[in-house]
Structure formats: C-alpha cells, structure tokens
C-alpha cells in the first residue's frame, strides 16, 4: 500500500471554488492595502535604489531566508528566525498541496504527495508547525510576561492571536482527520505526523459523524483565519513581511556613511535639507513602513539611553506618520530641535537595524534644513566654534598661523618648504591645538621617524576637514573648507595621506572623493599595523592590561576592528573587552558635531562610557580618536574615576615601546 492522504477529505472538492474566491479576495485586499501606500511614498523625492540588481537580490535572499540581520540579536532574533523557517515550510507545504490537488492531479493526472516523499513531507511539516508554535509561545511570553514595560499596540495582540490560532486550528483539523482515518486504520502513517497524531488522540473516542462535523468547522476556521492573516498584512505590523524584505532590496549600496553632497553651484535649489517630508526621499518615508518597532536601535542609541529625547525608532515612525497624515507639517515642529541635535551620528542604530533602515542621513538632512535655511545651532557655544572654523579654520578660534607649532623641533617636513614626502600627515584640529591631543601627533611622528617614513604636514595651511560642521548640517562651510584642503593637497602632489583622527579619516577617504580628491587615505591604527607587519617597525612588547574603545567612525563606519587590537597585542597588551565593543561599541558623545556642544539634556554619555571601561577592571582605556580621548579625559574627571582609569591613544602606547 502506498502512503498518501486524500486531499479535501471530508470537506469535498466542492470547497475549491469558495476557497479560491476567498483566497483571491484576501490577496486582493492585501494588494490594495499596499497599493494605497504608494502615493504616500511618492511624496518623497526620487532616489535610485534598483541599480546593481543581482547584488540587491542576493541581499534579499540571504537576509530573508538566512535571517542574518535578525539573528544578530540572538534573543529574540533566533525565535523569529525559527518561527519564520517553520511558518515558511508550512507555506511551501500548502503550495505543494495546492499544486497537486488543483493542478497536477486533475490536469496531468500526477500525484506526487505519496510514498516516502509523503512521509517526509508529513513529518517535516508537522515539526515545522511545532517549531513555529513553540517559538511563537516564546515570543509571546517575552513580550507579554517578561518584558512588560515593552510598548505593545493593537497589532501585537492581533498578530500573536492570529498566528497562534492559525497554527493550533491547523493541528486540530489535522488531528481530527488523523483520528478518523489513520489512528486505527493506518497507525504507521499516523506516526509520520507526530504532532497531528497527539492532537488526534484527543478525539480517539469521538464518533465518526461528529468528527466529520468538527473537522469541517475546523477546516473552514483555519482557512478563514489564514485569509484574514493575508488580508491583514498591509494594515498591521505584518506588513514587514513585504516591506522589510523590500528594504533589503533597496539598501544603500554606497560606502557606509556616504552623505549626498549638495551641488552648491546649482542656483535653482531653493530648499536645502529637509523641512518637510516632501524634501526627504521616498525611501525615507518607506523606511517607516519597513520598521518592525523592534527597538534595537533605541536600546543602543547613546542619546536615548542617557535620557535624551531622541529615539531613532520613534523618529523614523514619526516621519512615516507625518507623511501619511500631515505631509505639509514642518518636520522640526513634529520631531523638535532637541531630538535632531541629540544625535551623535554614531550609527549604532543603523548597524543593528534588522530592516536596513537608514536613520542617520535623515537626521542630517533635517539638520541641513535647520542650519542652511534657518541659521540654527544646538547652542551658542556651537555658533562660536563654527564661526571660529570660518575665520581660523579650527573650532578653538586659535590663530591659524599657530596650527603647526606643535611640530617645532620635530623631524617633520612642512609641505610649503619640502613636499617630497612619503606620507602627508593630516593632523586635524585637536592634535594640532589641544594640549593633550598633541601627544598623539608627537607619538605618531616618533613612530614614523623610527620606521623610516618621511612625514609632511600642511602646517598653517591645513584647515579643519569639515566633518563636524557637515554632520551639524552645514554643507556650505564643509564644502568651502574641504575645497581649500583639497586644492592644497593636490597642488603638493601628495601620494598618500595618514590621519590620527577617524573623523578626518572618514572625511578625506570617502567624502572628499565626491569633491575631487581620490588618494589612498589611512588611519594611523592600520598604518602602524602595516609597519609592524612588514617589519619596518619593531617594538619592545611590555605587558599592560587595557580595555579598548572602538570609536564609531573607525569601527562601525570603517570596519577597522581587529587591526588596532592586533597592534596593542604586539605591544604587550592584555585586553579586557567591554560588553559594548566592536560593532556594538557605545559612542563617546562627540560625534555628529556634538564635540562642540554642551550636553545639556539627560546624563553624560562620556561618563557612561568611562563607567563601562572602569567596570572591566583594566586600569587603562585605549582609544584611537582625539574626540574620544577628549571626552574620556573629561569623563574620568567629572565621573570621579581619576586614579582608577587612564585614557591613552594607541599611538602613545606604541611610541613608548620603540
């Protein structure tokens, strides 16, 4: 006897027509629900996100079927992934049943759900259903029992109930069928539906005519629930099944951290930055629909976790709500200036987002409106710093002519006297002027001298790279200072640039390309690592215990995570990692131009980070960024960690061991 089962058992082939009608109705409602959203998205400006299709499709496949970004946070990501795979298998199983019952069998006379394949089919689907129920149960307990402070909306109740009901009614209908046709007549086959069999045992002694009635009811209930599920997709958070998937396809494929340069020559532009949703791109509006409200961004946002009003998740949602209900409203009024200025552009939100939502550039676009259209600043201290950059090319307001004084007496070429150098060291404002940070510059020069690398600096001709003002939204000042630097660097025929500041590094290596500078640019951590690896630099390892801070602009933005650790290991370091390290590193508070701003809202981010470093028990915190160093020196003092923790730059550690 060949194992199989009768499809449409008990309900009969008469259900086919109403079943398909209802299915098409559900799918129609679903399609209509999405179609209705299209005009909302179309309010945004155009943006090409369908080039490089093969790469986009592979992103979709790996993230959808592999659940890669979802699993990055194991709890509850793994629950979601297993649920997804279980539910996905059930969906495929249903498609196979449909294919046989309504196509291959009646049209071609082929039955493939039989024999060994049927046994596997039956067992796999049963276990998939079980996995889905267990995972859903886990998620349900997490949301409604363990994490009761989590914000749950109507959708969450509807979705959990609906999915649970679909799975349970499916098993019940199967159980009744098994009770009536397999438990007694074909127990071997029943054993290939282990879960369905258990449900069947519930009905073991029920008379067959009653079973038939119950089965009909359950079959229809299950089917109607599925139809409701399909129809509900665009109207509930379930929409993420399609919108998040679509967001993988429409990912930003440019280098991480790219910001669109404004064409300042274009005199037809009347609005700079985003004042209203219509000034954002369609993708910025779509992102709101792709958001699943998982809160991963919010949980990692340094502004949010220190009591500032910014939540990246709420910001994305509010943009979506504004696009739908009040597209004419001012975004600043909806979101507030405090929210927009709170962002440190640390990218923790974007890095972790399972839906590939782009939070940071939205904020920068809205800041551009504030800065370029309204002349606004987060505070008067920022106004002063920005005007200092305009006049003296540095935020401190110190004489530009004194920019190179730190190098007096050191073996460094100043480019206007001798431009025949191996590398141009783009020093940056902090290492040039700030007393503490000058130690980084001096250490770096010492390392280069020892390695036989001839270093040049621009001296008084160098200006701020423009990064902080760009992140504050001041694209005009950024491009003005950037152009001056670029012309200078080009004129000297520089072959390679090294920076000791991740902000300069990102700007010169990536952003200046847009403005016409295309040169190899390296950060000192990888440059030193290279010198060590190729044998040009030898250091005397000397044991020390430390914890390492991944600056946002080196780690998350540039994927430079292991090289600095490798250098520090060679130097003799024993690393005690902080919980929040590598891609999950916690900002020092100084990104996004906030280095110029007083932190007036909530608690201090830098103190928070110093606390984390101190908790590792290591007496030394090693950083790779002048902004971080500045914030940590401050955090150690204001947080009361003096004597317990010292902060050093990687270059200082290496220079001490030459």
């Amino acid at each position: 006897m060949e194992f199989t089962r009768e499809i449409y058992w008990n309900v009969g082939h008469g259900v086919v027509i109403p079943m398909y009608l209802l299915s098409f109705l559900a799918m129609g409602v679903c399609a209509w629900g999405f179609w209705k959203r299209v005009p909302v998205y179309r309010q945004g400006k155009s943006l090409a996100r369908l080039d490089q299709l093969p790469r986009r499709i592979s992103l979709l496949l790996s993230n959808l079927f592999g659940q890669i970004r979802v699993i990055r946070v194991l709890n509850p990501g793994a629950f979601h992934a297993v649920f997804f795979w279980g539910f996905g298998l059930l969906f495929i199983g249903t498609l196979l049943v449909m294919a046989q019952a309504d196509f291959t069998h009646p049209v071609l006379g082929i039955i493939f759900l039989k024999g060994t394949f049927y046994k596997i089919f039956s067992a796999v689907l049963d276990l998939a259903g079980l996995a889905a129920i267990v995972m859903l149960g886990g998620l349900l307990v997490r949301r409604f029992v363990i994490k009761r402070d989590m914000e749950s909306i109507r959708d969450d109740y509807v979705i959990h109930t609906l999915l649970f009901a679909i799975l349970v009614t499916g098993f019940l209908a199967e159980g009744v069928r098994i009770a009536a046709t397999e438990l007694v007549q074909n127990p071997e086959l029943a054993s290939f539906s282990p879960v369905g069999r258990l449900f069947g045992l519930l009905f073991l002694n029920t008379p067959v005519d009653q079973l038939a009635l119950v089965h009909k009811f359950l079959w229809w209930l299950h089917f109607v629930l599925v139809a409701v599920f399909i129809a509900a997709i665009p109207f509930t958070k379930l929409r993420h099944i399609f919108t998040t998937s679509a967001n993988y396809v429409m990912s930003d494929l440019g280098p991480k951290g790219s910001i669109a340069s404004i064409n300042l020559e274009d005199e037809s532009i009347e609005q700079f930055g985003a004042a209203k949703v219509t000034d954002l791109s369609w993708k910025d509006i779509f992102d709101a629909d792709a958001c699943t409200s998982c809160q991963r961004c919010q949980d990692r946002c340094p502004a949010h976790t220190t009591g500032k009003p910014l939540s990246p998740m709420k910001l994305v949602k509010q943009i979506g709500e504004t696009a739908e209900a009040n597209p004419d409203h001012s975004l600043v009024n909806v979101l507030t200036e405090d929210v927009l200025w709170s962002c440190t552009t640390c990218r923790a939100c974007q890095e972790i987002c399972p839906a590939n939502i782009e939070h940071v550039n939205k904020i920068i676009e809205m800041r551009r409106n504030l800065t370029l259209m309204e002349g606004a600043f987060p505070g008067d201290e920022v106004r002063t710093a920005v005007s200092n950059i305009e006049v003296n090319g540095n935020p401190f307001g110190l004489a530009y002519a004194s920019r190179g004084y730190w190098a007096d007496g050191l073996e460094v070429s100043v480019m206007d006297q001798d431009s025949e150098v191996d590398i141009l060291y783009f020093v940056g404002c902090y290492a040039s002027f700030d007393k503490r940070n000058r130690e980084i510059a001096k250490s770096f020069i010492k390392i280069c001298n020892t390695s036989g690398v001839k270093v040049g600096i621009l001296g008084k001709e160098e200006k701020c790279c423009g990064e902080p003002v760009r992140k504050l939204g001041n694209e005009y000042l950024y491009q003005m200072t950037a152009q001056e630097n670029i012309e200078l660097i080009k004129a000297y025929g520089v072959k390679k640039i090294v920076t000791t500041c991740p902000h300069c590094f990102n700007t010169l290596a990536r952003d200046y390309k847009d403005l016409g500078l295309d040169l190899p640019v390296e950060h000192h951590t990888t440059f030193i690592n290279g010198l060590l690896n190729n044998g040009n630099l030898k250091i005397q390892g000397e044991a020390f215990e430390y914890t390492y801070h991944d600056s946002c602009y080196l780690g998350r933005y540039m994927d430079i995570i292991d090289e600095p650790r490798s250098v520090l290991q060679t130097a003799g370091g024993k690393l005690n990692e902080m919980d929040k390290s590598r891609y999950e590193s916690f900002c020092c508070s100084a990104g996004g131009g906030r280095i110029f701003a007083e932190e007036k809202l909530g608690s201090r981010i830098n103190v928070e980070r110093v606390k984390m470093a101190e908790a590792t028990g290591a007496p030394m915190l090693v950083s790779n960024c002048p902004f971080c160093l500045t914030m940590f020196e401050d955090g150690i003092k204001t947080g009361g960690y003096e004597g317990k923790l010292a902060v050093r730059d990687l270059a200082e550690i290496v220079a001490e061991r030459l």
Partner: protein
C-alpha cells in the same frame, strides 16, 4: 526709510600680532580677518529693524579697505543688507579716525539716511571716534554704546550701557546715528539661500579719493606689543597674615573692597 551700516574688517584678536616694517601698525602676514564684532551687532540691528518695518527700509552697508573687505561686505549682504558700498583704500590704517569719519560723511551727506549704525569701536584701533564724528559732521543726533533699540514713527528709543552696569534710555529724532555695543543682539548666521542671493546684490565700488578731502589730525607714531612684565605676586606665610596682605592689596588696587 534709508539705513546705513558702517562696518570694518579687523584681524581676529587671537591672531599673532607683530608690528609692521615701519612700526606704525601691525604686520598683515599670518592674520585671519573677520567683521569687527561691534559692527556685526550694527548689521543685525539694521536688518532686524528692516524686518520689523515690513521690509520697507533700504539698508546700505559700507566698508573702507582693500579687496579683502569684500568678505565682510558679502557677509553683511547675506545677513540681509540690500546694497553695498566698498570704498577702495589699500591702506586704511594710514587714515586717522577723523579722516575715516570724513570719508563716510562725504559719502553719506547727500544720501539722506534716516539712521546710521556703526559699531561702538573697532577691535583693532579702538578709537570709538568714527561713529560720533560722522554724526557731528552730518549734524545727526547720536547715541553711543546702545544695547537696545526701538523705532516708532521718526523717533528712536535706545537703551545705553553706562559705566558700572548702569543703563540709560535716550530718545532721538531721526536722522540719527547709533553706535552698537555687545548685548544689543545675537547676530544671525547667514542662511545658504541668502548667501546665494547676496552674490547678486548691488555692490558699488568707489576709490577712496572720491571722498577723501581732509588731512589727518592725529598720527600714529608707533605700534608695539606690551613689554613683558614680571609675574604676579605670590603670597607666602601664615594664613592670617596672607589674608591681611591680600585684603590690603585688593583695597589698594581694586574696587572689590571699599
């Protein structure tokens, strides 16, 4: 209503100053320039008044100097002035405040400005004479060091900052001249559309010879950095004794203890 704002470009005060070859002014190398701080308050006040009066007033900004004064002129236009006058002079520092005031008066005398605004003084020369001298030359009423201004139908009411934190309120009939002090306002940051619009605004250039008819009345004989003085006083010894001595010093040299 016609307004005139007089601005001067000065070196940033953080710059490293050295005296020039002839020893009568500072050397121009390695200096970063900006708009005189007090003149920024004057520009901001003029633009605010224009906005308060429904944009009816026409605001002219004027500066004397070499090509580089085009920068602060552009900034003033971007802040909201309507038109600019650049009086070309390659060596404005060789003119004394009387000559500068006479040049501006010669320019302004037939233009019937209702209100002229200047900074209270320049950050580099610091004579504080140009504004008041223009007023005298033109026969305008004048109020100095203003920290507040209101206009109503031909009368301006200004708040002045006097010595020791005392404030005074003065009313003047237009035409009038005011010199602006820190505290009057916070100068706006020019928006990008306004920076772009500024490029298209009218800019008239006159050689300084068109208006210069006066001889200097004062001559700068030398400009030099202050001689380095010995360090401060370090008090040592018994606490009570140090308190006595500190008290005596404060009483003798400052107004802290009376």
């Amino acid at each position: 209503m016609k307004l005139l704002v007089c601005i001067k470009q000065v070196p940033d005060m953080e710059s490293k100053f050295q005296s020039n070859g002839t020893g009568d002014w500072y050397a121009e190398s390695d200096l970063a320039y900006r708009m005189n701080e007090y003149d920024e308050y004057a520009v901001e006040q003029a633009v605010q008044l224009k906005e308060q009066l429904g944009n009816e007033p026409d605001v002219t900004v004027l500066s004397i100097g070499p090509d580089r004064v085009g920068e602060p002129i552009k900034k003033a236009l971007a802040m909201g002035c309507d038109r600019a006058v650049h009086i070309q002079d390659s060596a404005p520092h060789t003119k004394d405040p009387w000559q500068i005031a006479a040049i501006i008066s010669a320019f302004a005398k037939d233009k019937s400005f209702d209100l002229i605004l200047t900074g209270m003084q320049s950050q580099d020369r610091g004579s504080a004479q140009v504004g008041v001298t223009i007023a005298e030359e033109l026969g305008y009423g004048c109020a100095t060091t203003i920290i507040g201004l209101a206009y109503d139908n031909g009368t301006i009411t200004v708040k002045r900052e006097l010595e020791g934190g005392i404030k005074g309120v003065v009313k003047l009939k237009t035409p009038a001249l005011v010199t602006c002090q820190l505290g009057l306002n916070i100068p706006r940051y020019p928006t990008l559309p306004n920076i772009m619009k500024a490029k298209k605004k009218e800019l008239i250039t006159h050689p300084v010879s068109d208006f210069l008819r006066e001889q200097e009345l004062t001559a700068t004989t030398s400009v030099y950095p202050p001689t380095k003085r010995s360090g401060g006083i370090v008090l040592e010894g018994e606490i009570s004794d140090m308190v006595e001595r500190l008290h005596a010093i404060l009483k003798e040299k400052t107004a802290v203890v009376r």
